[in-house]
Symmetry: C2
Subunit: 450 residues, 2 copies
């Protein structure tokens, strides 16, 4: 117990006081505060005030002084497949179709089980927490196993109930995927850290009939929907051949477009399709590193933002990235938009940071809880140190976050006011546990590296 107050006035006991050199609030009012403190009670931000005033008013059960840091909202990874973490680098410099057919799917067929998913997710959570990510939007087999690892790590996640037509070790057909998904959803129903989407994999792996029942279930259960959409040109031409429609038009006809849809990628869009996404209030998970690595293309980010589409950032699975690193996505999304548009002023730093935080929170329907540092929201936070040689000097902390910093400058990560990661140490994950996970699965997966 630490009392920072020297006066004789009674003070309020706060669970956690974080004093920071800068706070990048990502709030529309006062986006950057200097020498302010964030007061946390029971996981919630109850006040933000100048440090000197905070020391008069509060006693801190736990006090953290970040005198060379910028405090930011916890980053949100809006599209990933966390359990692919153990496939990092298993198939690089390979085109999408052989990548899927010859590498990823055979590897998945060989190893993916409930145990695999739990183990691999724990590794992914460790990587994400160390890079300031507090929440991720996932889609994979065995989501109940993902939930177990998420819960151990103490992260926040929106877990997708994966739906595919083809059988896997996890489920036999679309209906089986759905039923198993709902059972998984029941398993975490009372967990405050976990929310749920239905996750039809993609237009090319899910039938019309299945999409129709997904829409019904999503309405009945008030669940959002998370899918891949317009990731590649192949996907579009295949849909035109099979259905006579581009995928987005096909989904529109079912009534799938709406404010509860998170569409990952959206690389190839015609102008009227951008309008469609804007009109329906759909959310896009922009994944620039993965889109480049798999040679899918470059999404029209500037146009999406200009039309008012809400865009967040995702890493995609680690097998196509190969980092679960939202700092890398912020930087690349800002740089790529400039290079492609020929306009250096588009996607400025504060917009990249908003995509990685509040925009993604909106996409998950969690903007009342997370995504910015404001009174009444949960204390999902990360501290980024700016005193490194590689970040000196500094003239604008928000610009530095995007262009100079990397995830290696993250020193602390909190989820709902609980310190989950600090300077190489995890609250709930032992280094030996991760080592054992790697030693168990790496040799099994190595057989599929060729």
């Amino acid at each position: 117990m630490f009392n920072a107050n020297n006066s004789s006035y009674p003070t309020i006991q706060a669970d956690l006081v974080i004093e920071a050199r800068w706070i990048a609030t990502v709030a529309s009012q006062q986006p950057l505060l200097e020498n302010h403190a964030v007061i946390v009670q029971a996981g919630n931000i109850v006040e933000i005030l100048p440090i000197a005033q905070a020391r008069q008013k509060y006693s801190a059960t736990s006090l953290v002084c970040l005198d060379e840091h910028v405090l930011i909202p916890g980053l949100i990874n809006l599209h990933t497949h966390a359990p692919m973490s153990l496939m990092r680098g298993i198939a690089d410099d390979v085109a999408l179709m052989p990548w899927l057919h010859q590498h990823i799917w055979p590897a998945e067929q060989a190893v993916v089980s409930e145990t695999y998913v739990q183990d691999a997710t724990l590794l992914a959570c460790a990587e994400m927490l160390s890079g300031g990510i507090t929440c991720f939007n996932d889609m994979y087999f065995y989501p109940q196993a993902t939930a177990v690892a998420v819960n151990q790590a103490g992260m926040r996640a929106n877990l997708g109930l994966l739906v595919l037509e083809f059988p896997s070790a996890y489920a036999n057909d679309a209906d089986d995927y759905l039923q198993k998904g709902f059972a998984a959803h029941d398993s975490w129903r009372n967990n405050p850290l976990i929310s749920t989407s239905i996750a039809p994999h993609a237009p090319y792996t899910v039938s019309n009939k299945t999409f129709e029942s997904i829409i019904t279930y999503a309405e009945q259960l008030s669940l959002s929907i998370h899918t891949h959409l317009h990731e590649t040109l192949d996907e579009i031409s295949q849909s035109e051949a099979q259905y006579g429609l581009r995928p987005i038009q096909r989904l529109a006809e079912f009534g799938l477009l709406g404010p509860n849809l998170v569409a990952a990628h959206c690389v190839h869009l015609l102008p009227h399709e951008i309008d469609l996404l804007a009109e329906y209030g759909c959310h896009v998970a922009h994944c620039p590193n993965s889109n480049l690595k798999l040679a899918s293309g470059i999404a029209p980010l500037t146009q999406l933002l200009a039309k008012g589409v809400n865009v967040g950032l995702g890493t995609d699975g680690v097998a196509s990235n190969n980092r679960l690193d939202i700092f890398a996505e912020m930087r690349l999304s800002a740089l790529l938009a400039k290079g492609v548009s020929g306009d250096a002023t588009v996607v400025p730093a504060h917009q990249a940071l908003a995509m990685a935080t509040i925009n993604a929170a909106k996409a998950l329907g969690l903007e009342h809880k997370i995504g910015s540092i404001e009174v009444g929201k949960l204390a999902d936070l990360a501290a980024v140190k700016l005193s490194d040689i590689a970040t000196a000097p500094y003239y604008d902390p928000i610009s530095h976050l995007v262009y100079a910093c990397g995830r290696e400058h993250v020193t602390h990560t909190w989820v709902a006011g609980e310190l989950r990661y600090s300077n190489g140490v995890y609250a709930n994950i032992e280094p030996n546990e991760l080592k054992e996970i790697i030693n168990t699965w790496q040799p099994k997966l190595k057989q599929h590296k060729h």
Copy 2:
């Protein structure tokens, strides 16, 4: 003194023995070695052999065991302006012309002096050494001051004798720049770490007459030439208006194109201009992060490589990047080429690594000394740790270097067999020295941040 040999046979005393789990030699034969040792005598690599044999044959004055690392050739930054390090983040999200006219040039006019250049270069050297960079190709005012800092840091550099038509605190006119450059060249003439280029800034800042005398001097003094070329579309249209020629054609007519030319950027090239660069054996310094950030565009890397142009990687100055990070350039050059070409197999990891090492060494005419880990070359080396959570598991160390690792995984950097950086500590640079440099210049430069 450490003797790793237990037998009674006499052993050879080696200055330095580095035992590594992997060695990415970047040599055409055996690009990846496992469990080998590099033997260094007087700064030179004298033998590379399996660890067990090395322990029999050599005693080590200094022994370094890298059991979780990949040893790589020191990275080479083929285009930078090291003394801009103190302008990191001074003007982000700004278009090129206002960036230059309203931010960078006024800031330079206000602060650039011999002392500034020495101080800023030392910071840049610290940043580069910590990211595995052992050599850089520079162009800036007061190159003799750059040399002093380079020498203190113990790095290798090719320093450009900057030539411009317009006056600065450094020189009055093109002839004055040249004469001051030659005096600087004399100042480091016997320094084994420093070599020299003549560096006409760009076609749009250097007159025909000056280019002609540069060619004469370069021939007489056997110096290479380093310039910016075809960085922006504006540069090209301005040249067409002024000279009736595109810049590359104008330089070709002077006889400037040749194997001693390093041309930075080359973003906008017509097919026959790529052929021209290939025919003349010119070298290109590809700077993808800077080209995106300033919205210059995306260089046709795949086409350049397909035509056999030798391409290395550069960060450009930190004010347009904002990192002196060749890992970031490797990753982005590989990813961007895939995304733009629609072919995920182009610029595979080993090619990105070659651009950052042996290709850049060729561009500097130093390929007989540096750029790969081979017997007879200098021991310019870096160690990259692969056991981090963010790099686990691993299936292909070379692929991991490019797609999963960052410069934060560099643990050791040697230049000519001397350990210049290790785990946060510099051999010849004190943390307080850097802190004082930052504290001196940041407030002066901050006045120009608006």
